[in-house]
Amino acid sequence: MAQVGRGIPRLEARSKVTGRAEYTHNLRLPGMLYAKVFRSTVPHGRIVRIDTSAAAALPGVERVVTGEDIRKVIPEPYYGPAFHDQPILALDKVRHVGEPVAAVVAADPHVAEQAVQLIEAEYEELPAVYDEVEAMTSQAIVHEVLKPAGTFADLKHLAGKTGTNVALDFHLTRGDTDKAFAGADHVFEHTFRSQQALHLAFEPFVAVAEPGDGMVTVHTSNQTPSFVRMEIARLLGWQENQVRVKVPLLGGGFGAKVYVKLEPLVVALALIVRRPVKVALTMEEQFYMITKHPTTFRIKSGVTKDGKITARECEVHWNGGAYADIGPRVCQKSGFTAPGPYDIDHIKIDSYELYTNRTPCGALRGFGIPQLVWAYECHTDIIARELGIDPVEMRRKNILREGRPQATGTKMKDAAIEQVLDALAEQMPWSKPFDRGTGVIRRGRGIAIGFKASISPTTSVAIVNVSADGSASLNMATTDMGQGSDTIMAQIVAEVLDIQAEHVRVMHTDTDITPYDMGTLGSRSTFHMGHAVRLAAEDAKAKLAALAAEAGLPPGTNYPPSEIFVKRYGMRAGNVIGSGTYIPTYQSPDKTTGMSENVTPFWMIGGTGAEIEVDTETGKVRVTRLVNVADCGTPINPRIATTQLSGGATMALGFTLFEDMVLDGGQVTNASLADYKIPGMHDIPPMYNELVDAKQSNGPFGAKGLGESATFGVSPAIANALDDAVGIRLTDLPMTPEAVLRALRAKEGRPLEDDA
């Protein structure tokens, strides 16, 4: 029976409904100590003095550790995937409120917590910068010297640079936008801004380090175990095989738990106190770890009178916060899609990653794409409305079709943009008359589409182990954080080996035995790891055939594997171990023009249609229907795939209507679930989810990723619906009732007092 394409429940379903699922959150080791973190209260300052004496004197405190103490076990304690800019505990300077400055280790976490309150720090405050555009020219410089990690070729030229907050600038030029604007019938220009928001996985960041004999074991809730191993080994100056990283299930990730986060700290503490140490953040502390980039995106288009876009200029400023994390990759990898899924001859992109004195910003379900789609789909809609062209028609006229070059010059392949647009229009249904209402409650509808390239070129390795009874185990470093990777990878193994997916055992990562994977991020696993798993299973199958031949069985024998083993070894004994490695082909964008013939192995397409109601007296927007459509090729597990659509769209709904990390003088004023609202039961509109009938021809069994696709279009679809309903255009996120009411009143010529 075909295993790929079955909508089976998640393999670990039983453990989840019984409360017995294994998370790092639950882990307790014999002799384990707990550490709590003392954090900076100033956004930017030189450390004058840290007084830990009272904390150290508290009974029950094992050790108080500062940045200088870390140097005893890690002499150069700076980490990061793109820049080695982040100290494990602050050294010399603090760069954002909430930055870890010291840690207290104790057997009782409550004692550690109490001791943290007794630490005092004195800072010489420095001028700070919070806005990404101001950071371009600000006198406040977050990092004195830039320190790229050396992993990425396009960051090398930044090494040693001083006096700048620009952590990467990416540029792309195709054709001649100036000339095209001069010849265009209409030129439109708008600026859109997005807010700082965050992942808020319900299992907050947690890691445990366990020192061993010439090695260290790190148990962590992390999406990139192989990177953790490499980075910890680099920090310690050890070999990779001295670092063991174990990752069970994750209680959510959404891009927060990528690269290293708490791991360097727990390792340093464990090596200092020579005991296992656990650090588990509170929900509040998650606001100081990693967030989503605020952005300012200026977009300008030249258009013919019948709505053909001839030129587009995109200037994007990404607010990266105090440490680069993976921001420079967001700036480049997402930056090159800034003009949208449109066929435009003349294009210019300038994308800047900026350091500021905010909590660092990294990847959040979409790797920067939702911020871009927010701007280009609002902009595209405004143009359509101004030219009197139907918004669906406007897009149909301009979308990138199969074989046409995207901004980088890479030709589109297996990108079902038109199908997604058609499905949206049909499901809305766009051609039917729509009642916009006349009273206090007005109604509107809008659509938006977006696309994303995959993270390339990246490597995945998998091992499939067939035991002598014919049962199979899969060993891979893809971590299941709820997206269902364990289940779909088991389906791939089962498909190749012709067994039941439910009978495949998926082992959780232990880097002592689990091979390398770049990471569970950017919707890359289904494609990259999916291929590696397929290759590993095929290798195992070929080895089984070879074993059968050695046993003297005729080629193509129907003997079950268990009997092949007995025939070959005389008893139930032995193993067959298949391995597979996958890396797609890739050409990195040209340094000056940004051009590449092969910038991604696949494209993800997502579209959203929204129907809303606006209360014109209160400004409250209620989404009454959400249509989520995506192209994920041929889904391996259609049921799990569909929940990725509704889940992604709902998360984006929060970022659209209410989620907002509020900053006041560098302080986060709403760092708790009480003050930072996320979508709950009552916020969920009726949803229609559709995966268009498509096939990714170079994907495993025709599949590709989709964990992020449903997040792309939600914000602009709702903004477009708002315009449709009441004729106001919001250009900042989130679209709170207050923002809507202000715009409504301004439009009516009776602005709210403080706007007047």
């Binding site: 989840k16 996985a201 299992e203 209680g251 959510g252 929900m283 996320i678 039961m681 949803m687």
Partner: protein, 156 residues
Amino acid sequence: MSVARTIHFTLNGRKVSTEIEPHHNLVELLQRFDLFGARESCGQGLCGCCTAVVDGQPVSGCLYFAVMVDGKSVTTVEAFDADGALSKVQQAFIDHGAFQCGFCTPGFVLMTHQLLQDKPNPSDDDIRDYLSGNLCRCAAYPEIIAAVKAAARAGR
């Protein structure tokens, strides 16, 4: 810190006792008994990940002092499959894929049991109202509603 005291209570039908300090919450108490289904996430009584049932009333374990269960009866999600078989609610959650990461799931399962005790045939609005104190960051809400309805049909 403060003085520990001994408490006696019933945990999933079994009489137990332990020493506990007055500032410990119910989640920490349950961890002592190797029960990890109730888990602290928001720490503010807002997400429902730490839900447990005390004398028939669902409580937020993160805000509920452990000493307060002295002499009471505590039920956690681990009670439902104590005999090895899943409850109808748990089975319905699996059948309808009503979770992704699963971190919030024990709270939803417990609250669904409570709901169906109070209202064996809940409407969509009943379900939304009753479960509005539980949050799911993975947003498995549509599947949760479907699972609750299926469990109601199956009679818990």
